[in-house]
Assembly symmetry: D2
Homo-oligomer: 339 residues x 4
């Protein structure tokens, strides 16, 4: 069996998950190298996954002999340059979302990728690989809800009393680029890629007041109008008490699909003096772990020439473009036109 030789850059929490998938659960992938500025992360890769070649520098990773592809799970600010460098080194690239917080950089990456048509570039909009979202997309394409005209999508995170994302706020791009970027991509995908026309957004801060100095909020609302008359409504929150809840509704002229209602952790239900209850997924990984694996499998297959990517690099640019418009609309307190 032909195997894709992959090097991973970034071994934080999510990077480790990707690394484990590549090492154990993608039959035609071979995790041959890893790169991190943090020595103990490399030590983890060596000991736990048996990764033989570990590098502190990204350039060294790219130079690893025989490498076919890189997985980038690095800070967003590095994405564009790292993708471009990888392409120029002749590597296929998987990169975590968002592509970039800078629209120019997105376009530069698109341009560079266009120069290497034989190389695959995928930005990890993981929800597109979730079995439930896929089923919904299939049903929409099959006409089961008539013509879809409205998407309501929300990304609601379990409150983190430690407020990790407050420290991360300076570089996250704010709640819309960090969280809603997924929902924006879903709306475009599920509505069959209409042109974004106009955005309004607002937000409020109810727990994590430290966000204010970054112009960010812990709860955001946004509305997106498309040129064809379809619409999308978004909510994002950092302050849920019950868990991570990703919920999307697609309204069509003959029906509505809801994906993710209830946020069930598993199939257990408790009936006690509090009534009847179920636990909820605590974080995005517990919700989308299978999708992270499918995403890696699709990327690897495409890079091996055994399939096609189901999303385009330009989709990532559009998600950034709309997310940036939301941030601006909230800041300036006025609608932002996108046409």
């Amino acid at each position: 069996m032909e195997k894709l030789r992959i090097g991973i850059a970034g071994l934080g929490r999510l990077g480790q998950r990707h690394a484990e998938n590549l090492a154990h659960r993608v039959p035609n992938a071979q995790l041959v190298a890893a790169c991190s500025p943090v020595e103990q992360e490399l030590e983890w890769a060596r000991k736990t996954l048996g990764v033989a070649h570990c590098y502190a520098e990204y350039a060294a990773l790219l130079a690893h002999p025989g490498l076919d592809a890189v997985f980038l799970v690095t800070p967003t600010s590095l994405h564009a340059q790292q993708i471009i460098a990888a392409l120029q080194a002749g590597k296929h690239v998987f990169c975590e979302k968002p592509l970039s917080l800078d629209l120019e950089d997105c376009l530069k990456v698109e341009a560079e990728a266009a120069r290497h048509p034989h190389l695959q570039v995928m930005i990890g909009f993981v929800r597109r690989f979730d079995a439930s979202y896929r089923d919904a997309a299939y049903k929409i394409r099959a006409g089961m809800i008539g013509k879809p005209y409205l998407v309501r999508s929300q990304t609601m995170d379990l409150n983190d009393p430690g407020g990790f994302f407050v420290r991360f706020a300076a570089s996250s791009g704010g709640i819309f680029l960090d969280c809603s970027v997924h929902d924006i991509d879903l709306a475009r995908w599920l509505l069959d890629s209409p042109a974004p026309a106009r955005v309004t957004a607002t937000g409020t801060t109810v727990i994590h007041h430290g966000l204010r100095e970054f112009g960010d909020v812990d709860n955001g609302l946004a509305t997106l109008e498309f040129a064809d008359g379809s619409m999308a409504s978004f909510m994002a929150s950092r302050t849920m008490a019950h868990g991570h809840e990703t919920l999307t509704e697609v309204f069509g002229t003959k029906g509505r699909l809801t994906i993710g209602g209830g946020a069930q952790l598993n199939r257990v239900e408790m009936a006690d003096h509090n009534g009847i209850s179920h636990e909820c997924t605590p974080d995005f990984y517990s919700r989308f772990s299978d999708a992270f694996l499918l995403e890696a499998q699709e990327f690897v297959a495409a890079a091996l020439g055994q399939g096609k990517l189901s999303l385009k690099l330009h989709d990532a640019t559009e998600a950034t473009r709309v997310g940036l418009a939301m941030a601006r609309s909230m800041r300036d307190r006025q609608a932002v036109d996108l046409l």
Copy 2:
């Protein structure tokens, strides 16, 4: 508008609910008299409902001039003789379930009723009047689940730490005659009255150990086979932590109907650190309050000659007969044949 003049006997908790319905919510009913051995219950009827004529003795109630009908919400041991006396006095009779714990008495009541074909007699199998059970019955009759062949029905009561029913155990007939009698009636109704053929039952006592001296249990299981090959499975409990849960499933060759799953108190759902939860109906009245009203309305209409009863006196006899067989099966630890 012609009105049915009604006297109620028994003003305990459920009796008061019936009295309120008759006084305020059944337009063509007139609650003209009440009877109770408890003076303060009569006082309540006078003050709260404006019932003008209150009696300590049932015979006096029957003798009340112009009375058309009686509502019996009295101890089960009195049902048979009170129904017979009412019929002999020319009154229509509504009587709470069960008809009697004694099969002979059931038959005597049936015989007396047969002598007064112009008088209506209804035993209050209230679930038959619940909108959800009615919808299910309609769907079954319409063939929506194919041929029904199996009913699973359970009556699970919220644990009462005070253990009222332990003190009541001597006269309740036990868990099958007190609780499952409803489920037995539902099974017969929803399966279109096949002949009961054979019963097995067992039980256990996990909280209310005082039941043991009466040969009763706080959790019971029973199986009923019908002559046509259809079956029913029953559960009854006194020890639920979450509420009163009446749940019935009807399995047919093309589908299954479930009535009462979730036991929702209302349409409110809470998402908090415990996950997502809803509260449950605490007791049968919070579950079936609308059905108690519809039941009274049907009885009143039938007594006024404006409609027909949807259940027969013999249905109540059958429920008692099967319930008694369950109690015997549990006691003797062997199957009881009913054919």
Copy 3:
């Protein structure tokens, strides 16, 4: 028992429901008169409800001797003048929502009401009387979700292929004043009446294209910011395939309450070749019939001096004010400030 003598004006579909409640289900109400320009509606009131006094003219109804109160279920354009006339005639007034589509008229009604402090005036924001909404409000006031900061509320109507509301569009005020006005009132109520600060709204028309000539849409989205930083997000639709779905979520710092999820018609669930399903409430009346009754009971009790109204006339003015701002925001494609 003292009874409130009531005359009803307007006997259309909803008017008939109110009339039935007053005639049969509100013990201390007496429906003594009715008024409608449609003779067959009056005939219905006479025959079905036994209303003795029927008038074609509103003035004649007001002049009916001994009348204590009026119920107005008339076209919105008549509300203000009819309320004012009733107050001047010394009658308590219940009026269906919305109070008016004209803010000036709302204020005139408030002013007139202030001149008659002994008269009760209630605008029928029926959802405030729903058991589930009341339970949610109670839980919020009890602190069970911490500080509430965001309401998401939607009113989604079953598609009516006949498009009744298209013919009604000229006088309805549009989707926000016809549907969202309820959600606006709920948001204010559940957030404890913060001051509305700013509104943005948009919409699309996907089935009922005839709405366009009235500047109306069949699906609308709106966002409302309050002066204290709390927010509300609204959806309204005329095009649902599954039923009438009124759903409200209240997000607080410690939890979220959802009211109305699932839109269950009853407690029946079907498992068949389509999977597991339940039917949905087809219209607002099947969802809120109990609330319409409680609303009438509260009004009657207050008019008899036996209780207080739980909502103020000014609440109705605020709902109209915000609804008008939404309509303007959609029309002008810009935010509308409300402070």
Copy 4:
């Protein structure tokens, strides 16, 4: 990394699933050989999984040099002798449930296993490895439902119009040994292994009448009493229209856990003219695919000396013993004592 060298016997539908897991998803397993009397199944193993050594005879598989363990996914009638042969050849054994339809054979296997204490033997009661069942077991052990006293468990299969299991009926042992054996094992596990005391069972045939000649049914009911007073109630069916539904309820003195209610296929919900619905898992594999993997991982780890098996061989004997008693109770129409 040390790897367990495994040979699989039996490559039918479920065998193929096991083989894929061993080949790709259990990092420390190596699928080195396969055995099947069906040449095209071996061909599949060679081509799809790259299994180098394929045998037509089980004896040849056992003789494969360096083999550490066997996976038996063969007909039940072969289990006992194949396990014994494997143990005598010094191999660890994983075997699909049920252990055997013959109690004597179960005991012989137990005796042989006792002679090889260093060899692991696991019977695949896969539900014990499902994340939801594990969560429930954890919660029970943690006391969250008080003392558990009643398990209700059902295995309901999607109707197979082709009736595969009718052809399989002669060797399946009947519905209780084929389906309920899982529920029996769950009940024992979740109640902490009380001693089975008494069984009653019955059944009916509503679609697959061909079962009758084998004394089998397509819908069965059974009750199991334990020596400590706890109880279990079982349902099994071959005739569901909506899917495969495995549902277990555990009742305790302080609460109830339900595992598997709703049988959701995924997180998608459809709202259309039929109401609101979701699709259901079509078969046991779509429900338990993750558990099949965890089961293999636990077995491999234990065989490598890196963990302990969480279930005992004797558990499988007990499941067979109770299942046989159910079959006998149904046939003889009387209770069967097990003490």
